[in-house]
Point group: C2
Chain length 457, copies 2
């Protein structure tokens, strides 16, 4: 979903509708269920601070953040979570939820979860199947078999790949097929048993890797050497299609996979002209369009139809709504040109807060920096640049070589090139400051970290 999603900030961490990200919505949806424990998150190392911060922002205590050192698809990732849960609860049940979808009808979802729990208690591995309301060709389907009791669960007859349109229409008409949502519910021990039966090499590798885990702040690190030894496979292929205890719970819960800007438009509330606006938009004779303005800039649309317009600090996309899946062509061009607009946003999140490069020139750069309460940047120095800091809100504790002093709103200081410095926020409000960098080289890699509370030195 470029340009809003970037490599270091994929769509599950974006607030695509409203104030919360898809990840936050997913976590809160799970928290609303009866008898649920703190969520366990499996994510890549790149996203660890974002996961921690987004959990904190919605007031959800973490049940563990497990860092995949390399991507090995869903089956090994879920195995990590299962091992982690079993550490604390030998009877633990996993509700597995990808963090990139929307669910409108939470009560229907809760009812399906209750059904799946009764199946899990009997040793079934339950998949949530979404009852199709149109002939979608972009999803895999699950064909149900015999009913398992009265509560709405079925044996899985088989999994089928993304169909062509005629096949999808037949699936829709037959009424026994459901979309594969990627959500599952099962006892942790049962998942590992079935994994051991059908993918023993994977289970061994994951178990070894998990055994060699280390703790790092709030994160559980899985060593790369061990985890990389696991085959890469999805839970569908590795377990669900092979076990004879696979069940499906069909549900109509307004589920949608936000795969593109057009699918977001399709599920969003729209105005009388079928438009969805976010931010500061002036719309004249515009129909069927999704328009998303960014901070400090308005977008005006005039006499257009079926467009997607998404603005960010450094890139704007103007696309036909039926072509948004080809935004990957744009991203490929950015890659080939060695650019950065597909990798990072101009505003960069760090464990201690964020910075945004608001002005650049030949030998200077201006950054707007926010330091969270209680946070500290690393003790660091730069070989090629000096820095001026002007605090515009909060109270910063500044270390500059031998001196440690407070800097308040409307106070400034100078960090000479080569001096050892640190910025810390001991207060309860965010510190915001303007940094003016001056020097012959201003790259982010001109930094020597001498000490870092986030383990980056």
């Amino acid at each position: 979903m470029w340009p809003l999603s970037r490599q270091n900030q994929p769509k599950q961490f974006l607030a695509l509708m409203g104030d919360r990200s898809l990840f936050q919505e997913t976590v809160l949806r799970a928290q609303a269920l009866d008898g649920v424990q703190a969520p366990v998150t499996v994510c890549s190392e790149d996203h660890r601070f974002m996961v921690g911060e987004q959990l904190q922002a919605v007031g959800v205590a973490s049940g563990g953040i497990l860092l995949e050192p390399v991507a090995r698809n869903t089956a090994p990732a879920i195995a990590l979570a299962a091992l982690h849960v079993l550490e604390h609860d030998p009877d633990g049940t996993l509700l597995v939820m990808p963090a990139d979808h929307l669910i409108e009808d939470e009560s229907a979802f809760r009812a399906a979860v209750a059904t799946a729990r009764t199946l899990a208690d009997d040793g079934w591995l339950a998949a949530f199947g979404i009852r199709p309301d149109y002939a979608e060709t972009g999803y895999g389907y699950i064909l149900r078999g015999d009913a398992l009791g009265e509560e709405g669960g079925f044996r899985i007859e088989r999994f089928v790949e993304k169909p062509d349109l005629a096949t999808a229409e037949r699936y829709l008409a037959e009424g026994t097929y459901a979309w594969n949502s990627g959500m599952f519910l099962f006892r942790a021990d049962r998942y590992l048993q079935e994994l051991g039966r059908h993918a023993p090499q994977m289970l061994d590798a994951v178990r070894d890797a998990y055994g060699a885990r280390t703790s790092d702040l709030d994160f559980t690190r899985i060593p790369e050497a061990g985890f990389a030894a696991s085959p890469s496979d999805s839970i569908d292929y590795a377990v669900m299609e092979k076990t004879d205890r696979a069940a499906v719970v069909p549900v109509s819960c307004g589920w949608s996979d936000i795969g593109s800007w057009s699918s977001l438009w399709a599920v969003a509330e729209r105005d009388d002209d079928d438009n969805r606006h976010e931010g500061d938009v002036i719309s004249v004779d515009t129909r069927g369009s999704l328009v998303r303005a960014s901070e400090r800039r308005m977008i005006a649309t005039l006499g257009v139809e079926d467009l997607v317009v998404v603005d960010t600090a450094d890139a704007t996309l103007v696309a036909h709504k039926d072509r948004v899946q080809d935004v990957k062509i744009v991203v490929d061009r950015l890659k080939k040109a060695g650019r950065q607009e597909h990798l990072f946003h101009r505003k960069v999140y760090r464990p201690w807060g964020s910075y945004d490069s608001i002005g650049v020139g030949p030998r200077f750069q201006v950054k707007r920096i926010v330091v969270k309460p209680g946070a500290a940047l690393s003790l660091q120095k730069h070989a090629h640049r000096a820095e001026h800091w002007i605090v515009v809100s909060g109270i910063a504790e500044v270390t500059c070589d031998d001196r440690v002093f407070d800097l308040r709103e409307n106070e400034s200081t100078y960090i000479p090139r080569g001096s050892v410095h640190r910025l810390r926020n001991n207060g309860s409000e965010p510190v915001e400051l303007i940094e003016v960098q001056s020097g012959s080289y201003l790259g982010e890699d001109d930094i020597v970290r001498l000490e870092d509370v986030y383990g980056r030195s």
Copy 2:
């Protein structure tokens, strides 16, 4: 041509194609003619510094900048220029050129000017008529009468208003009609004679107002009381349609009136897909579109056709190419909402240079300021804000209460609230600095100017 044009920066001062504004192109076109004097510019007070700066930027010495205190249409404005020219040269001839059009074939234009000069020498008032190459309904037309000698001039039979399409097609077929370009050539004294004959009240008012003019730096100020007494009328109505010495010189010189983004697209060089791109644009399956990116931000277009996309620091327009004339609807909405995006750009030009508000927050604002060589801001103070200045290039002379000192690259200073201060550039390179304002009120109107070299105190 919003969002690039704003009330304080109309289209003639914009670099719409290439690096030079339409005003600069017009001045340079005139300078290339034989025997031409320094240009006299008639403009509103709001645009005086822009005119001065744009002349300087292309190295053209000014022949006078006359400030209209109120708008009275073209006949009085041209009368001001005629009076000004006659001060220096009783035989002076005026080539009158609006500053908002393009001419592709400068040699055809030069030949037409030569023809018009011979007519002017004989006392004719010559209009340049553009030979139509299609049936345009948006322009007024001039019907030619008898030929005046061998050189290509004709008596004007009559002026006609913008025609409907059938009439325009007939005009095109008949071959005796030309578009009224708004360009004229005549002796200054002859213009005033004819004005005195056909609009004596106008001539009297303008003559009185010009007589009471004052000098202010490089500008000639016309007092409002006198000039406002003149009737408001165009040269066409007030003089050209009434005099019996009106001539037309038909010419095919690739003239175009840049009235909208679509007319700019129509005359611009375009790529194989009929697109015109300015700035950092990535275009995928895009056809027939004008896309203009602004500094520090890219635009990607995907699967779209016949669009106009124009980005600026604070506003982006996405319009169908056939609807761009309705951008006035957007501007009206901005007016009604009491906004500023139709009045000013984020980057504001001042006689001493420019500033750009690159960051704002609850009690602070960050500006990037450029001071031209030899220029100085006013001696000023602020009741509600303090300022931090960090020089990032050049050498600034800073006055702060009793102290006067130089500030070099990577040096900073603090201007306390209420202190009397000034910034001056005595060097030969621009001074660039970052200003961080801090305070409870940060509006531009919190300023007391104690002294100003530009007459603004």
